[in-house]
Each structure stands twice: as C-alpha cells, then as structure tokens.
Subunit: 204 residues, 2 copies
Amino acid sequence: MKIPSKYMEEAVEQLATLPSVGKRSALRLVIHLLNRKPEEIERFANAFLEMKKHVKYCKSCGNISDEVICEICTNPRRKHDEICVVEDVRDVIAIEETGSYQGIYHVLGGIISPMDGIGPSDLNISSLLGKVQNGEVKEVIFALSATMEGDTTNFFLYKKLQASGIIISTLSRGVSVGSELQYADGLTLGRSIINRTPFKIEGN
Amino acid sequence: MKIPSKYMEEAVEQLATLPSVGKRSALRLVIHLLNRKPEEIERFANAFLEMKKHVKYCKSCGNISDEVICEICTNPRRKHDEICVVEDVRDVIAIEETGSYQGIYHVLGGIISPMDGIGPSDLNISSLLGKVQNGEVKEVIFALSATMEGDTTNFFLYKKLQASGIIISTLSRGVSVGSELQYADGLTLGRSIINRTPFKIEGN
C-alpha cells in the first residue's frame, strides 16, 4: 500500500502496531483523524502521553491507578481479607460492574503460559503470597479464564497457598444465566450437573 | 464501564472517538499501549501531531500530499489529459496498486449525499470543471462507488461536463475476476451480459 505522504504513512504504521488493527483500517482511521481540527488531534495525542506519564500499577494489588495505592485498596468499606485474583485490569472492571463483590483484588498481570514464555516469575505473585503469610487474608478467589493457561495458574497458586489454611475458592462454572440448555456446550452442562446447588427462590 | 484511572479513561475515550472503535476494544488497545516504553508512546502520539501539521491536500487534484502539489500531479510521465475522478485518497491508493492507470486523479473529498447533507458545493468539483474548460483534458473517468450516491454524483458531473465534448467514461461493471458465476448478484450478472465485450486471449 503506497500512501502518498510520509507523515500519513507514519501515522498509519503507528496505528497498525496496535493488536488487531490492520493497515487498511488504520488508513481509514487516520483519514478520519486528518479531517479533525488541530486542537482535537492535540487532545487525541496528549491522551496517550499523559496516560503513560501518570498511570501507575497499584503497589498493593497491581491494578492500574493514578495514585500509588488504587482506590479499591484504599476504600475502607471493602473487605480487605477477601482477595479476588484476576489476570488484568479488564477483569477488575468487569467484576466491579456486576456490583456483586465487596472484597479487594490482586492483578497478576498475565497468566502462566509456557507457549508464550510466561512463567510464574513474570507475574505479580510473590506479593499475594506475602499478604497471605502475614495473616491478612481469609479467602482467596481465583477468577481466571477457564482455559488451560488459567487452570495451570490456578493449580500453581493453589499449591503455593494450600498450606496456609485460608479458604481458596474459584468462580462457579455452569450454564449462563438466560441461556437455553440445548445450546450449552457439553463440558459446561456436565460440570453444572455435578456442581448443582440447592434450589433457592431469588430474593429470599 | 468504570476505569480506575482518569488518565486511562481519557485515552480510552479518545480512541473510542474513532469510527467503529468501541469502548471495550479501545480499553484493550490502551492497556496494550500502557505496557510500551515511554519513547514508543511518544512516537505513537507524535505521528498524529506531525501528520496534522504537515499533510496537505494537493492544490491541483485534492489528493493528500506533503507538498503543495502531489507527486502524481508533478510526475511528467503521467498522462495529464486523463483525469480519474474518485471519492477519497483510499481510492487513489487502490487504483495506483493495480498499476493499470497512467493518468492523473481528481479527488472529490466525498460524494453527493443528501441524507448526510453533502451537496455539490461541499465537494472539490469547481477545479475539475476549470481544468476541463481550459482544454487541458481529453478524458474524464468516473471511478465512484456503485451506490445511489455514486450514481447521483456521476449524473451531476456528467451534466456539467457533457457540453465540453471530452470523452466521459466510467469503470466497467461486471462479474469479479476469479469469482464463480452462481455467486454473482443478479444485477451485476445482468449488466455483465448487456455490456459484454469482445473475447480476447489475455496477453495478445
């Protein structure tokens, strides 16, 4: 693709460095940007510079934050002895959106994936073990993807935490709320029968 | 979606102003950016600022260019009496990639679309008419989308150029090269029978 301006080409190339943005869609986006006012482009570009300058990883849980400690870790109304272990900040956002969790988080920054060369030492694990050893924690909840990498990471963490005597739990797996049985995959359906729960009228 | 950093939120919002980028994919891209080195972010952000500062529209044809006149218009080996009328720079790039065209271009910067409030006066039309009136042009080729808006624009330009006596042509419509007949849409197939061309052995 021969772009008739080297400045536009650089913009297209930079945008195409983002995952799942191809050169053709990058070109479409760049043409859209070119038609904006200079001050809008400045705001666009500055957003990334400011983000890189100011966004930190929370010293306590590894979540992103504008402060040294994130607003979930500093919130006195959260249960600080309940830690939900997640892969990255998107999982924190997703769980926070449910409004169903009152504890704090621990963001690993990835999951163990030998295929991608990511081992336990690349993840934010030691500070989790530290918190548990200090006796600050009653329960650790594994909220990782239901993939082989997720299972491997769960297993690794379980082995490390097992001796501490704290409660170790994981998200329940089962048929999605609102979905029809016949469309559930067999593995999920099988697990949901084995792990069946006492019937309860919602709201009681 | 509650993002735990106002700087990251601004970056997500700015990225989500781009067409067909939703907030969730913007977040994914921004997390990816956050993990890059500061100098990489600087290069990323600068690309857009530099582009806005330096990229111009060619004074002659409306194509994008780093100079006042674009490199196609200044190329003495192009046929300057053959003008291909296109909607935007992406069409120039696509036609240039075919290597099948030796003339110059005229970029309208859009097409007539009453639904979007775009009329002839919003487009780069008068300079095209000027070139034709000056007698510089032998042929004008309409290369607009095969949509109602494209047809409307073709019709408008045809009415304006008709009296000049120059050749006015348009891209041939027909069955795609390499495609199977049974999957061609009826309208295209019908047109391709009506506008059938003499059989020729390729390369002869």
